[in-house]
Every structure is written in structure tokens, then in C-alpha cells.
């Protein structure tokens, strides 16, 4: 069983794949993460994160058919797996709970 841990950048990448609608590829993901986080993101780190996510079983990839706009080059497209989705949700829920605790604590 691969590790269930999800790093911050991996989480962003995973959510970006989900947000862009499945069957997206590296370039849009890079653009998206860069726009959302408002910091320069290198393509290499995106590849690395996608590789790790795939190894952990959170995303799945397939080679797409050749597309004319990329000069006939095929590309690797990514889809979030159910387990990836579940992990991202769990993470979100944990954060929510903590935030709730903080706001409650602030009131009292």
C-alpha cells in the first residue's frame, strides 16, 4: 500500500486536475496552479507531483490520441481516481473541523 500522505503542492495539483475536469494534461494544470497560488510554478514540479500522485494511486493517466494543434504530438492526460477524491475530501474535512474549532474558540 502506497503512502496516504498528501503534500501541499500535490494537493493543489490533485485539485487542479479535478477542477479542470478530468482528462486534462500538464500544461493546463501548470497554468491553473500558477494562477490560483499566484506564484511561479515550473513544469518540472508539476510532472513530479503528477508522478507521485499516480504512484500513490490518486490519479490515473492515459496517452491521448494525437491532436493536430500540438503538431501531432500525443499527450498524457490525467483523471482523479475515486481514492484520490476521497483523500482530498478527507483532507478538506479535517481542515474544516480545525477551522470550526478555531472560530468557536474565538467566540467563547
Amino acid at each position: 500500500v502506497k503512502g496516504e500522505h498528501l503534500g501541499e503542492f500535490e494537493e493543489f495539483t490533485l485539485l487542479a486536475v479535478r477542477a479542470l475536469g478530468d482528462n486534462t494534461y500538464a500544461v493546463p494544470i501548470q497554468q491553473y496552479v500558477e494562477k490560483v497560488t499566484a506564484r511561479a510554478v515550473s513544469i518540472g514540479s508539476v510532472y513530479a507531483a503528477l508522478g507521485r500522485l499516480e504512484e500513490k494511486g490518486f490519479v490515473r493517466s492515459t496517452m491521448s490520441e494525437a491532436v493536430a494543434q500540438r503538431g501531432g504530438k500525443s499527450k498524457r492526460v490525467y483523471t482523479v481516481t475515486p481514492s484520490g477524491l476521497r483523500t482530498a475530501r478527507d483532507l478538506h474535512r479535517v481542515r474544516e473541523r480545525i477551522w470550526n474549532a478555531i472560530t468557536e474558540g474565538g467566540r467563547s
Partner: protein, 867 residues
């Protein structure tokens, strides 16, 4: 239609240098281009370029895809695979590991001994600041000073702390009841010795200046080795009383491991205890023989400054008559048992050369085995590569395999070294206080050597598989046999092995010949039954040797009355005790000795002409000599020398003594001594303090030695009396080449076996590869005999090259190393060289002929149809 946009050329070129695998490169390039176009539109050309290079750079950082344990997992898988693979060919494997472990074991043992002898040092802290103090006049340089001089130097020195030490041996009883106490080497040191050398203790305290003037029971510090061997590291030893020589001493401390200054001392006592240890009635408490003086420079003082100041002190000392004023020279490389750096460097170079040869051999053998398996494993590697294993992964597997071999061998080798080190230690006559046991440095050495051998041997077959070719090995046999590089590599390995084997076998053969030669040497007298006695009464010049002379006066009659002792004598030198007195006269070496009249009778030399000394000649120290037969022949040819004066050119103590007798020739110093020219002078009573006693036991007597020993101990129970057999010493002389012969012989034999195994495996696989070629040759009309000749020559060629190279190396090595140990066997001994060559060649032919014959008798039609 405009041209489709492309990524900047430099970025494309740089992309090739990144770790992006080739199959993914097109995709990555497409991604980069897409980003480039987009960024150019959004932020301009400069921005797009900048970010593109930044992205390429980010690809250089290897993505950490693999989990931390992936490498370990792979290694375990590799090791398991290696074990399975090796289990399939256990015979060759076992021999390889054994060979490698012998190689590692021998080099570890050699390194361990060198480590303790040279590298570890004596444990002097900051040795450069603790120079020896040399006594210098215009005519001489000496390492020793008299006690009074030492005291004056110590008082006068202002720039350095001056200390002194005298080394000697004494009987040490650790319990009162111990009857047969062994002797131990003792250092008598001045009070600040430990402070000046930096020696520390693990228990109790070190000796201090306050110990020096103290009367009564002297304190003693034990060395770590002594504490271990005699007290089993008993922590309660401090405060105990042991008996050293003639006095009881209180153990005050135990020195830390590794501190044995100077020259492997076992005990340290104050200088002032010297008299108490050696004389029954201490006339003087301090030794009269020379004291080795050294010092510790005070902080911030330069060597030259201290030297000048101390020379000033020395110049006020009274100098010996006729000598110039005394000066001081400070030398950080002498004193305290230090070996000069050039000397230690030479020994280290020699030991490392031996280690290198042995390791090269072991390494070459493992590489040969792995290469020959690699040839048959081409197909396996091809399959692996085709299934996506990277070249790095395959190389790693090969290296893991050889490292597994190496690790197994290292363990066996270490065991071997533990077993061999004491043996080699005895062989090279290491002193008692030497700590030969491997320490941390040795383990590091073994680890590094194993790693280097393992990786080196593993890389050889990897090199062989250079440029993994996916298709050829998968297609099956027959193809791809014309790769030149691997052949050259294999030949080189065979050449190396053959050369090293020949080198070792030639050396072994030379030593074997030397053994026979040494055993056959006629020393001219009957050494069996002759024993020598050394008194062990300390400083012979103390009190003009009164103690020793009175001991001899009582010992000689005491032994003469022991039944079974045929003859007793005194002489200055006894045969084969490691000392000699010689003079070089006109290119001739003449040995001389001072003896009592009974000497010739005792060791069994017949008097050929004239007579031996008379009692009066002894007491009067008359100017008479007895000469050896060969000396008589050299100077008087056929005439009788009796009554003639000894040739003027032979320097004797008396001016031109008269020859009164001629005795048989004898070899008494070393077995390989060339010259038997000798003369004997009377041993006058004044020289008896330097003498030893010898007696001959009549054949058939039993228990004579015990009786003699009892009588001598009855005279002086405290003295370190040693009775040694002259016959035993002679035997030891003769066994020295035998041990060397055994050592090189065993290693050489292993070398040959390994070489043959490697050669067999190699030939079998090479010949197997050439089956198709053989088929074609037969189809074209070649006779099996021709094929056999061709294959044999191809396989044996590297062996022949190796033979030539090895014989050349042996010629050099034997001349340099062994000429002293060969007892007249020529270093170019044709028998040894031809013998070694024939042995290796025969072994090689045997190794080659079996697979070759099989290949030569191949069925052409079958082979050709198959491919």
C-alpha cells in the same frame, strides 16, 4: 501559411541533458512549446524565454518519484536473485569466494601488522613537539647520555621539558607463588615522562615527578597489553604489589591502549628504581648505561630556539678526553623508539605492494568468473533491457552480485586474518608488547578494500555488456561474437592472473629450493645438545660487572657437576643469537669472538693443528689467537700458521697476536653467512661481564636441562636467567625460508587453482560462442586437428603473455626482496622459473583442452542448421 512555432534551439538542446527519459522527451517538448507560445502572447518574448529555461532547469532536478525504501527493495531483490544465480553453480562460486577471502584475509593481516608497527604510532601526543635530544660532538652523534649529563640538561633547560628513559627487561612475578616467571620489557623513566609524551592512563594514575626521589617500594604503571594478558583486565589491579626483578613494586596505574612508548614497553617504573630492580645491594640507584633523552617543547617555543638554549647547557658539561665540546641536536624523528619516516615509508611501500598483488589477483579472478557468466547471461541481460530495465539498473545488479560475493568473502577473510595475525606475528618475531589485534583502522581498511574490489569486479562484466544491444542476444546464439572490446578485457584478466600466479609460484619455488638448501647447510659443528645461558642481571657495566662475574664464578662449577653435562664454557658470542663481531679486511669478512678454552670442545669444533688457550693465557689476556681453517688457508695456503703472527691487516685488540691453533670452519652467525674466516681470542676476566655461558649435554641424558636450571636459579632466584637451545635457534634459522615457502606456496597454489577455474569458464563460454564459426570451418574442409590448434592457441595466448610478464616481475622481485633469504639459491634459478612455467602451462592446457575438444569435434551440419 506561417511556419509552425518551435521551442528555442538552446532549450531543445538543454532538454537532452536533463533526466527526462527519451520516450517522454517529445511529450515534454510539446508541453514546453505550448507554454512558450502562451507566455509569449501574455508576457512577451523575454518572459517566455526566461520561463522556458527555468522550466528546463526544473526538469534537471530528478523527480523524487521513488519512495525512500525503493532502493533497499531493489537491493534485496538483487541479492535474492544473486543468491539464486550463485546456487546454480556452487562449485566455481565457492572457490571464488574462498579465493577472494584469502586475498582479503592476507591483505587485512598484512595491513593490520603494518598498522600496529608503523601507522598507529607509539601513542606520543603531538610527536613533532617531542624531539629526541642527540648528544653531538664534532666526531660523533649519539642517542644516549650519561645519567649525570641528563640531570644537568634537565636542570639547565628553560625552553623545553627534558626527560629520559632506559629500556631493559626483568622477570616479573604477578603473584608471589609464581615460580617460572616470564620476563617483560620495562622502561625506566624520569618523573615527567608521561606528561612529556602525553601518555594517559585508563586506571589509577601515571608516574609523576614526585615518584622519582621516593625511597622504598617503587611504583609501576602497566601497559594495556600487560594488564590484558597477565591480569585479564582486572579493574582492582591498582594498589596490588608485583615483583619486578629484585624488588616489589606497587601498581599505581594502567596506561591506555595504544600507548607503549618506547618500542612496545610493558611496564614503566621510575629511573631511580633501576638499582633496586637489578642489584641485590644497590650501590647506585640509577643506571650507569646510557639514558635516552628526549623533551617536550614548551608552548610557543621553536625547535631551533630550544636547541640553541640546550646546546648552551651542554657546552658547560665536561666532555670526554680528546673530544670537542658537547652540543645538542633536536630531532623529532628519533628517540622514544620512533622509526625514521623514510624507513617506515619503505616498509609501508613494500607491504602495500604485496597487498596490491594479492588483491589484484583475487579481484581479477572474481571479474573473470563474472565476465564468463556475463557472456552466458547476455540473453538474460537482453531480456531485462527489453523489459525496460535501464542500463544503470543492470549495472547495479551486477555490482550488487559482486558486492555480495565480496561481503561473504570479507567475513571469511576477517576470520582468516584473526587466525593468521598471531602466526605472522611469530614469524616476523614481533615483540611481546606489540598490539597486533585489528583495530578500527583495520576494519575501515577491510571495508574500503571490499567495496573497491566488489565494485571493481562487478564493473568488469558491466563494461563487457557495454551498449546493451536488445536484439542480438534475444535472437539466440551465434550472432554478435565479434565484439572486440570484451575479448580484450577478458584476455587482460587472464594475463593478469597468469602473471600473478607465476610471480607467486616462482617465489614459492625459490623459497622451497632455499629450504632444502638451508636444511642441507653444514654449519660445521653439532648444534644439537648445546645450550646457552644469558644471565639477565641488568646493566653489565654497573659496578664493572661484579654481579655478573660473581654469578659466572658460581655457575660454571655448579653446572660442571651436573651429571650429563659434558662441557661448560663462557664466550662473548653464542651461535645464532643474532649478534656478531666482524671486520672487513681487504674485501673479506672476518668474524671474531672472545672465548674460554673449553669453547671448541663445547660446541664441537675439532682442533686441527696447534692447541687451545691455557688458563694463564686467559687470565693474562695474552696476545694469542686460534684461527679457523679457511682463514689459515687464505693467508698461509699450505704452510702451518701455528707460531706465526696474524696478518697485520686483520684488526685485533692486541697488536699482531700469535696464532697458536687452527680449528674447523663453522657457521655461527647466520645460516646464509658466506664467510667462515674467523679468529678466536681469549676471554679475559674483565670481559666476562659481557659473556654468556654455553654447555653441551652428553647424548642420552634426560632431565639435564631442568637440573641445570634449578642449579642456576639456586644461585640467584631473582635473575632473569634464560636457557636456550642452540640447536633450536639453528632450526629456527632454517625454518625461516620454510615459512616463507609455505606462505607463498599456499597463496601461489590458490592463485593457480583460481586461474585455472577462470580460464576453464572463460574458454568454455568463448568456445561455445564460436560453435557456428567452427561449423563453417568444418564445412569448408578444416580438420578437427586444425580447429583444435586454432582454439587452443587463441585461449592460451593470453596465458603465455601472462607467463612472460609474471616471470619478468618475479625476476625483479626475487632480486630485490629475497636475495637475503635464498641461502645461495640464485634469484634467477632456472629450475624455479621453468618449474613454475611448466606447472602453470600444464594447468592452463588442462583447463582449455576439455571445452576445446568438445568444440572441435562439432557436427557441422547440426550447428549450421540450428542457426
Amino acid at each position: 501559411v506561417s511556419r509552425p512555432p518551435r521551442l528555442p534551439l538552446a532549450a531543445r538542446w538543454l532538454l537532452r541533458l536533463t533526466s527526462v527519459p527519451r520516450h517522454a522527451r517529445a511529450e515534454v517538448e510539446a508541453d514546453l512549446l505550448e507554454l512558450f507560445v502562451r507566455r509569449r502572447a501574455e508576457g512577451g518574448l523575454m518572459h517566455a524565454h526566461w520561463r522556458a529555461y527555468h522550466d528546463v532547469g526544473s526538469l534537471c532536478v530528478r523527480p523524487a518519484r521513488r519512495s525512500r525504501f525503493a532502493l533497499l527493495r531493489d537491493v534485496i531483490a538483487d541479492v535474492r536473485y544473486a543468491v539464486r544465480l550463485f546456487a546454480r553453480q556452487p562449485g566455481i562460486l565457492l572457490l571464488t569466494v574462498l579465493g577472494l577471502s584469502v586475498g582479503l584475509g592476507i591483505s587485512t593481516a598484512a595491513f593490520s601488522i603494518m598498522n600496529s608497527a608503523l601507522l598507529r604510532g607509539d601513542g606520543i601526543v603531538d610527536s613533532d613537539r617531542a624531539p629526541g635530544v642527540l648528544r653531538t660532538t664534532d666526531g660523533s652523534t649519539s642517542t644516549v647520555w650519561s645519567y649525570d649529563e641528563f640531570v644537568r640538561l634537565r636542570e639547565g633547560a628553560t625552553r623545553m621539558q627534558v626527560e629520559g628513559v632506559v629500556g631493559d627487561t626483568a622477570l616479573v612475578r604477578t603473584t608471589a607463588a609464581q615460580a617460572d616467571a616470564p620476563a617483560a620489557s620495562v622502561a625506566f623513566v624520569s618523573g615527567g615522562f608521561f606528561a612529556a609524551t602525553g601518555g594517559r592512563v585508563v586506571a589509577g594514575r601515571a608516574l609523576e615527578p614526585a615518584d622519582e626521589p621516593q625511597p622504598g617500594q617503587p611504583p609501576v604503571v602497566l601497559s594495556f597489553i600487560f594488564w590484558t594478558s597477565r591480569f585479564n583486565q582486572d579493574p582492582g589491579v591498582v594498589g596490588r604489589t608485583i615483583r619486578v626483578g629484585r624488588t616489589d613494586a606497587i601498581v599505581v596505574g594502567v596506561a591506555e591502549r595504544g600507548f607503549s612508548v618506547p618500542s612496545n614497553r610493558l611496564l614503566w617504573m621510575p629511573l631511580t628504581a633501576y638499582g633496586a630492580v637489578y642489584s641485590a645491594t644497590p650501590v647506585r640507584r640509577t643506571p650507569e648505561t646510557g639514558i635516552q633523552v628526549f623533551g617536550r617543547l614548551l608552548p610557543g617555543v621553536a625547535l631551533s630556539e630550544a636547541e640553541a638554549q640546550l646546546s648552551g647547557v651542554a657546552s658547560t658539561l665536561p666532555s670526554t678526553a680528546g673530544d670537542s665540546k658537547l652540543r645538542v641536536r633536536l630531532d623529532p624523528d628519533t628517540g622514544l623508539g620512533r622509526v625514521s619516516s623514510s624507513e617506515s615509508l619503505a616498509i609501508a611501500a613494500f607491504v602495500f605492494a604485496v597487498i596490491a598483488i594479492v588483491l589484484l589477483l583475487a579481484c581479477a579472478n572474481v571479474a573473470t568468473v563474472l565476465v564468463s557468466t556475463a557472456i552466458t547471461r547476455d540473453r538474460e541481460m537482453g531480456v531485462r533491457a527489453a523489459l525496460g530495465a535501464s542500463r544503470r539498473r543492470i549495472v547495479r545488479q551486477l555490482v550488487t552480485e559482486s558486492l555480495a560475493l565480496g561481503a561473504a568473502a570479507a567475513l571469511i577473510g576477517l576470520t582468516f586474518a584473526y587466525w593468521a595475525i598471531p602466526m605472522i606475528g611469530t614469524m616476523i618475531e614481533a615483540p611481546d608488547g606489540a598490539d597486533l589485534a585489528p583495530d578500527f583502522t583495520v576494519y575501515v581498511f577491510l571495508a574500503v578494500v571490499t567495496l573497491v574490489t566488489g565494485v571493481g569486479a562487478g564493473l568488469a562484466p558491466a563494461l563487457h555488456g557495454r551498449g546493451v544491444d536488445l536484439v542480438t542476444p534475444l535472437k539466440g546464439e551465434g550472432a554478435g561474437q565479434n565484439r572486440l572490446a570484451p575479448r580484450r578485457l577478458r584476455s587482460m584478466l587472464v594475463v593478469t592472473q597468469a602473471a600473478a600466479s607465476v610471480l607467486l609460484i616462482v617465489m614459492a619455488a625459490l623459497f622451497v629450493r632455499a629450504t632444502f638448501r638451508a636444511a642441507a647447510i653444514d654449519v660445521g659443528f653439532d648444534a644439537a645438545g648445546v645450550y646457552s645461558v644469558s644471565p639477565g642481571l641488568g646493566d653489565p657495566s654497573a659496578d664493572d660487572g661484579a654481579a655478573i662475574r660473581s654469578f659466572w664464578t658460581r655457575a660454571v662449577p655448579a653446572l660442571q657437576t651436573v651429571p650429563g653435562i659434558a662441557s661448560v664454557t663462557l664466550s662473548e658470542l653464542t651461535p645464532f643469537d643474532g649478534t656478531s663481531k666482524t671486520s672487513m679486511t681487504g674485501g673479506r669478512v672476518v668474524h671474531f669472538n672472545s672465548v674460554r678454552p673449553e669453547y671448541f670442545d663445547t660446541i664441537g669444533l675439532r682442533i686441527l693443528a696447534g692447541r687451545t688457550f691455557t688458563r694463564d693465557e686467559i687470565t693474562a689476556k695474552a696476545p694469542v689467537v686460534v684461527i679457523s681453517e679457511s682463514l689459515a688457508r687464505a693467508y698461509w695456503q699450505d704452510q702451518s700458521p701455528v707460531g706465526q703472527l696474524l696478518a697485520r691487516e686483520i684488526p685485533g685488540p692486541a697488536t699482531r697476536p700469535v696464532v697458536i691453533g687452527v680449528v674447523e670452519d663453522a657457521i655461527t652467525v647466520r645460516l646464509d653467512q658466506r664467510s667462515t674466516l674467523a679468529f678466536y681470542e681469549p676471554l679475559d676476566p674483565g670481559s666476562e661481564k659481557f659473556a654468556q655461558l654455553m654447555f653441551r649435554v652428553a647424548p642420552g641424558g634426560s632431565g639435564v636441562i631442568q637440573q641445570a636450571s634449578q642449579r642456576l636459579r639456586a644461585i640467584d632466584p631473582e635473575a632473569d636467567i634464560r636457557i636456550t637451545s642452540v640447536g633450536g635457534r639453528l632450526e629456527q634459522e632454517a625454518t625461516r625460508p620454510r615459512t616463507l615457502a609455505a606462505l607463498t606456496g599456499v597463496v601461489g597454489l590458490i592463485a593457480i587453482v583460481l586461474c585455472v577455474i577462470g580460464l576453464y569458464g572463460l574458454t568454455a563460454s568463448v568456445v561455445g560462442q564460436r560453435a557456428r564459426e567452427m561449423g563453417v570451418r568444418i564445412a569448408l574442409g578444416a580438420a578437427p586437428r586444425d580447429l583444435l590448434r586454432l582454439l587452443m592457441w587463441d585461449s592460451l595466448r593470453p596465458v603465455v603473455f601472462g607467463l612472460v610478464a609474471g616471470a619478468g616481475a618475479a625476476l625483479l622481485a626475487s632480486r630485490v626482496v629475497a636475495s637475503a633469504m635464498l641461502f645461495g639459491v640464485s634469484p634467477q634459478d632456472p629450475l624455479a622459473f621453468s618449474g613454475a612455467t611448466v606447472i602453470l602451462l600444464a594447468a592452463a592446457v588442462l583447463a582449455v583442452i576439455v571445452p576445446t575438444r568438445r568444440a572441435a569435434s562439432v557436427d557441422a551440419a547440426f550447428v549450421l542448421r540450428r542457426s
